[in-house]
Each structure stands twice: as C-alpha cells, then as structure tokens.
C-alpha cells in the first residue's frame, strides 16, 4: 500500500491563503502534518513604529476585515493600559455591544457560509441557496443583524470609525438601538431552531486531550477584558501574557508554534471560551448548549462549530441586556491621554476566533517604538497541525476522503490567515 498524501494548495472557505500538507505512510504513521501559510506578509509591527498612539486602533483594524472590531478593541485597551486611562461604564458597555455584534456577524458567516456547505454537500452558500433557501435567508439575516448593530454603534460595519482612545466620538441614540430588540428576540428563537440542524450535522470527532485557553472573569462573559486562564489551571493577569505563552520557530514547520510555557500547544476560540466561561453563559445560551448537543467538557476542535452556535445565542442575550440597560442620556467625552513620558501597555481580548494579544511601547511624543501582535490563528496554527496529525490515520484506515476531512477540520477552527500572517514564516515562493 502506498502512502496517502494530502496537498491542498489553497484552502477554500477560510479567510486568507493557506495550504494543507499531510502525509500518512502505509503503516498508518503520519509523516507530515502542516498547515502552511502563503498569505503575503504585511509587516504591521514594522510600519506601526513612528505612528501615534491615537491611530494605532485605526491602523490595526486593517489587519483583518472580518474581525476589525476585535483588533480595534484590543489596540484601544492596550493604549489605555499604557496611559492609565479608565474608561466610563458607558464606553465599556458600548464596546461590549460592538464585540457581540462582531460575534454574531463572524460566527454566522463561519457556521452557515463556510462550514454548513461541507456537511450538506455544496461548494458554497450560493449553490446551497437552491435547496436550502430558508436556511440561507436566515443566515443572511443573522449576519446582517450583527453588521447593522456594529454600524449603528461603530459608525461603519467593516472598519468602524467612532471608537477612539478613551471612549466614543459619538454614541448611538436610544431610537437607533431600540429597534434591534425585536430583531434580536426573533433571531434568538430562530437560532435555537437552527441549532438543532447544525447539531445534527455529521461531524468527525477527535478525542485527544487538549489545553483550552481563553480570558475569563467571574462577573461577565469575557470578550474585551479578563484574566488569562486555561483548562489546565493557568490563571494570570493579561499583562503577564508574555510570561506564560511562548512562540518558537521550529525546523520542521513553517509556522511558529505557540505553547503554554513548559507545556504543549493549545486551542483558543469559541469552544475554549464556552468551556472556561460556562458559569457565565446566559439562559438562552444554556438552551443552545442543549439544542446543538454540545458537551461542555469537550476538547474536540470540531465542537468549535457547536460552540459558535452557543455563542451566537450568548451574544444575542448580551446585546439585548446592553441595549435595554446602557445609559445613553449623556454622551461621555473620550478620556484624554496625557503624553510626555515613555510608557508601555498590553491587552488581551477574545476575537471571534479566540485569544488576541496587542502590546505596544511609546516614546515621550506618543509615537510607537515597539509593537507586538499575536492573533488567534497564530495561537491555534500549531494546535491545528497536531489535530491534523491526530485525525488522519483513522480517516485513512477507514478509507475516507482525507483531503476533504482535513479541510473540514481546518474550517472548524475558522482560521483567519490575514490576521495570522505576521507571526508565520511565509512558505517559499511567496
């Protein structure tokens, strides 16, 4: 028997340009397991040097068109940590609303546009619309709902404009936000129904034990701030991120391996969050856990799809709460930064795809002297390679389609390769 090779040069239905190289020999041994990235580098950490503290979030927003809000929130908090800025409760709530709008948009895209076609037998959402018109129309409505909330709060859906260091230049009115309450309630009901459909798809399983990493707070479902925790007992403040997470360049692979210091690769993203923040789940999200059939202790990367469904409902519940309770009577002015001394700051948030780190140093004029950005897909890529390794022998033994199964695993992580690319050494040939 010959060895089985998988070489997917350009993985479709993921953001950015990535490739899969897997080889299983005739003895069932995995000889190679690579998630290679050929996305062109854009060198953000280089050209951010010399730029001012108040434009960092605007520039880093352009790292990713799917999760610009996550990059903005992280950059803003890193800058605010550097300058000791305390934001108002109004700003905190509106930023949470922005983050949840991004979850609704990004997760709907991932679950219905990028993942579902694999399991329902289509090449994409457009061809799926013929036979599954209602599901596709629902998916479009969900994505639009997330985008519309983001547009009202942030001034624009893709690369929002009103969030700035210290607050917002303009806040939405009650009249602008209230109409979303009915759409959100309707979306929740429909999403709980769709959860059964998604939960019923035929996902493969991987039983390996993994370390899951996310931010956490006892007081709320953490998206924009929290302590860094893991399923193996890690628990530190966000400033200590660089003390506990290592990135190493290894010979056999073209991506850097992110590891928990002294341990192994780890997984970030929806499943890690739901697992580690299970006591912060909303009533609706708990219903979604049951409807989609998610085991809360699961460490199986394929269960990221189920966790996305849970988080869409969580985001709907959170958005309803915020819209009902946020105080919009007086627009708080953005808190000003006092420049004049060199300083540094870092922040961790949860982008839709998982843990996102930004760290900056500034000179006395407020210009960046050093930038350090680690996006979710950089955290996950080595883990994804480990899981390709774990998945492949079983698929080959059962005579399955290894290429297709590897692609499905990659999509379960919903990698965002444009984001990841700064941390990956690009494969030769550009």
């Amino acid at each position: 028997m010959k060895s089985t090779k998988v070489e997917v040069c350009y993985v479709a239905r993921v953001e950015g340009q990535g490739a899969i190289n897997v080889e299983v020999n005739s003895g069932g041994e995995v000889k190679r397991s690579e998630f290679a990235i050929f996305e062109p580098p854009r060198f953000y950490e280089a050209f951010l040097r010399g730029r001012k503290f108040d434009e960092v979030h605007e520039l880093t927003s352009r790292i990713c068109g799917i999760c610009p809000i996550a990059h903005q929130m992280t950059a803003l908090r890193a800058v605010e940590n550097a300058y000791g800025i305390e934001i108002s409760e109004q700003t905190r709530q509106l930023r949470r609303l922005l983050a949840f709008s991004a979850y609704i948009q990004s997760h709907s895209l991932s679950v219905f546009y990028l993942t579902a076609p694999d399991y329902l037998g289509y090449d994409g959402v457009i061809s799926m619309a013929g036979d599954h018109r209602e599901l596709v129309e629902f998916a479009l409505r969900m994505k639009k709902l997330g985008n519309d909330i983001g547009e009202v709060v942030g001034g624009r859906a893709v690369h929002p404009v009103s969030a700035v260091v210290g607050g917002f230049t303009k806040i939405p009115t009650r009249e602008e936000l209230s109409p979303f309450l009915d759409s959100l309630k309707r979306a929740k009901k429909e999403m709980l129904d769709a959860a059964k459909t998604i939960g019923g798809l035929d996902f493969k399983t991987i039983d390996d034990e993994n370390e899951l990493v996310a931010i956490h707070s006892d007081d709320w479902y953490s998206v924009n701030e929290g302590r860094l925790v893991s399923s193996k007992g890690l628990d530190v403040q966000e400033q200590d991120y660089r003390e506990v997470i290592d990135e190493v360049q290894v010979v056999h692979s073209n991506t850097k391996r992110s590891t928990v210091r002294g341990r192994d690769t780890f997984m970030v993203g929806p499943l890690a969050r739901v697992n580690l923040n299970r006591h912060q789940l909303s009533t609706g999200a708990k219903k979604a856990v049951a409807a989609v059939g998610l085991e809360l202790d699961s460490m199986d990367p394929f269960d990221n799809v189920r966790a996305r469904v849970v988080e869409i409902v969580q985001s709907i519940d959170e958005s309803i709460e915020i819209i009902r309770n946020v105080d919009l009577d007086v627009a708080e002015q953005p808190v000003r930064a006092h420049i004049g001394m060199p300083c540094e700051g870092a922040a961790l948030t949860e982008a839709p795809r998982g843990l996102l780190f930004h760290g900056y140093r500034f000179d006395k004029s407020g210009a960046v002297t050093h930038a350090d950005i680690v996006p979710p897909t950089a955290h996950n890529s080595a883990h994804l390679e480990d899981m390709l390794r774990a998945l492949s022998p079983g698929v080959v033994k059962a005579g399955g389609d290894l290429t297709f199964e590897c692609e499905k695993l990659v999509r379960a992580y919903d990698p965002c390769i444009s984001c990841s690319v700064h941390a990956a050494v690009v494969k030769g040939g550009g």
Binding site: Y10, A12, R13, V14, E15, G16, Q17, F38, P40, P41, R42, F43, Y44, E45, A46, F47, R49, G50, R51, K52, E55, E58, L59, R62, I63, C64, G65, I66, P68, L109, Y113, P117, D123, G124, V125, I126, A129, R133, V136, L140, K143, K144, N147, G155, R156, A157, V158, H159, V161, S162, T169, K170, Q249, S418, H422, V426, K427, G428, G429, G430
Partner: protein
C-alpha cells in the same frame, strides 16, 4: 450585457485584509437576487469551486507584494473582460503602503527572525502592472458602490464613481466644519467622496480612506495643517496613510 449567458464573476484576494470581500458579502439583502443574474465562478473565501476563467468581471482585493501575485495578476488580467480594483489596497496599497517608506530589509527584520523564506517587495496597486477598468475607492468601498458596479456592468456601463471631495457630502449633512471652524486636521478637502462623510458626521476628522479626489490640492491643505499647529512629522503621517504612494499625495507623504 457583456455576454449572452450570465456574466461570469470572479473575486480574487492579494495582499489585503479581506475587508472589501466582507463588504461585498454585506450585500445580504441583494445577494440572492444578484446571483440570479450573475454566475460567481471564483470566490475562494466563500466557495470551494476553482474556475480559472475566462471571466466577464473580475474583482481584485489587495495590493501586489509578492512575485506569485504579480504572475497571477497578469494571468487574470488576460482572462478578464472587466478588471475591477476593489478598494484602496488594489488601487494604491492602502495602509500597508506605509512600509514602502522604510527599507524592505528593515521591515522584514523587525517582524521575522529568519527572513530567508520571505518573498515580498514593496506594495503597489494592481494598476501599476496591468490596465485596470474600474477603480472602486475606499477602505472598504461601500457595499452600494460594489452593487452599483455589478448592476452597471450588467447593462454594459460604468458605475458612477464620485470625484468631488468629502466636504461636499459633509456640507449636505450640515456638519460643522472640523477644519475651518474647529481647526482640526481633516483630510476631507483632498479626499474622494463616497463614504457619506461618516467620520465628520460622528465628530471625527476624515482620515482620507477613500484616497485622493480628482485635482486635489494637498500642498495647500498641508499648509493649513501647519498653520493649525501640526509638526512636519504630523503632516507626513496624515498623507502617508491610506494613499501615501499615490502621485497626488507622494510629495506630502515624505519629509
């Protein structure tokens, strides 16, 4: 109509953030109607069908910054009737073009431990290398502009790209002028309209994300900025942002 059959449409991504493709996908209300009229034959972010052409309309998001992209661009130009530069990166590199003002080895060494496998050169818009039929400005171009481009192409005409400055739209919105009334460094007077003056409408200066308008006068605006108290470095940062390598802004984008 471009062809007897449904026009074959492709969406490519080069060096960029996927935000322009996301804006295209934000046509949620129109998407199912559009695909009745066109055939989306290549769109890797959204579907796993790899149809290598020929195409009636080809949207390209992102700039050219690697040898592979340059080769691919020439191939898709040859197989496309209408080639559309989708957004600022494809037009003139957008934000990542800031690094064009640093040396290539310097930027590579800041980001990578081992620069040997890096195949990257300074970012350029696709029009630098091949003829482009339509430039859709913006970071990102508004979805309505993308929609108009498709519907116009179906009728064999060009979309209506605005050439006047953001100021015109800002006046129509009756915003207080941030530049003349408040002395703030707004890029509106030299920036192409099309966004709906969204930033000044939320109390923020225009940062220039639709690129230079026709017949812009950046030299004069730079003088206004200096009079308002901006340092030489501040002025450079203003112009070296979304369109720092365009012919219009190149002079003000360097010290």
């Amino acid at each position: 109509m471009l062809t007897e059959n449904k026009p074959r449409v492709a969406v490519y991504k080069f060096t960029g953030c996927a935000g322009c493709q996301m804006e295209l996908l934000r046509l949620e209300d129109e998407l199912l109607d559009i695909v009745e009229k066109i055939d989306v034959v290549y769109f890797m972010m959204a579907q796993s069908k790899e149809d290598m052409g020929p195409y009636d309309i080809c949207f390209v998001e992102g700039s050219v910054s690697t040898p592979r992209e340059l080769e691919e661009l020439k191939v898709i130009r040859a197989s496309s009737k209408v080639l559309v530069a989708l957004g600022d990166c494809a037009i003139a590199g957008c934000i990542p073009s800031i690094r064009n003002y640093m040396s290539q080895s310097e930027v590579e060494e800041i980001v990578y431990d081992n620069i040997t496998p890096i195949r990257s050169f300074r970012v350029r818009g696709i029009g630098e290398y091949v003829p482009v039929d339509i430039n859709l400005p913006g970071c990102p171009p508004h979805k309505n502009l993308i929609y108009e481009t498709i519907t116009a192409a179906l009728q064999g005409i060009l979309p209506d790209i605005k050439h006047h400055p953001v100021c015109v739209d800002c006046k129509l919105k009756e915003n207080v002028c941030l530049l003349t009334s408040l002395g703030r460094a707004c890029m509106g007077p030299v920036t192409k309209a099309g966004c709906g003056a969204i930033c000044p409408s939320v109390g923020r200066v225009c940062e220039g994300c639709y690129g230079p308008m026709s017949d812009a006068n950046p030299d004069e605006l730079a003088k206004v900025f200096r009079r308002a108290g901006l340092t030489e470095e501040d002025v450079v940062r203003k112009f070296r942002k979304y369109a720092g390598i365009t012919e219009e802004f190149r002079k003000e984008a360097q010290i």
